[in-house]
Symmetry: C2
Subunit: 135 residues, 2 copies
Amino acid sequence: MSFRHPDRDQIRIEGVLTALGNPLRLGAVRVLDAGGEHNCGSVLAVLGVTSKSTMTHHWRVLRDSGVIRQEPSGRENLLSLRRADLDARYPGLLDAILTGARNDGPDPKHPEAAGTGAWATGTASGSRTADAPGR
Amino acid sequence: MSFRHPDRDQIRIEGVLTALGNPLRLGAVRVLDAGGEHNCGSVLAVLGVTSKSTMTHHWRVLRDSGVIRQEPSGRENLLSLRRADLDARYPGLLDAILTGARNDGPDPKHPEAAGTGAWATGTASGSRTADAPGR
């Protein structure tokens, strides 16, 4: 099964911001931004998420908004950040967001996430609520 | 009635992105960024929103995320963008978002918004759905 992705010129800022306004999705993007090839499982492992189904919706939101590509490769799906597309459409946006997320550190409302040290090392913790407040 | 606002160091990137990932809220922020004092009614007028109650939830999301201040003044509420706080916490973020929104132009999924010309002049149209896709 292959996935549909918006073309670069179909990406909309509201969609990108909504996609990245969720701690798990933002965490996944931070993992992908660190480079290398990732399948879904390897991102989940870094995030500390054990439920694949939890992330199915999140991968779709990230894909549909134009933030990531998800491509089948054998029996896996490979994930990659669409950095070139995002940087072309919204110069400076992704870097500002990733720097901001790094500087924010662990969420004081979810102190259990601090113990993993994941935020401090530039990746993200998954022990948070799946959706940001205000949705 | 006065409102609670997070301190600068309580602002979280996920909250800011979620707040700005909605066309009406992003539109309101674009109006506020253009400068001047605004009460709720004057922002609604620029956005083309006739229902005050539609925006009550949106003002709260913008306030709770630290994006705007909403302060009572006589019988009105005055709104202002917390640009200094946002620029201090997330350098470049707000400018990247506002520039991106301006360059995106009207949403092709909501072509009726194009007729107002509001996007082209740097403000926003309100004739959109209240919530972004993917929420």
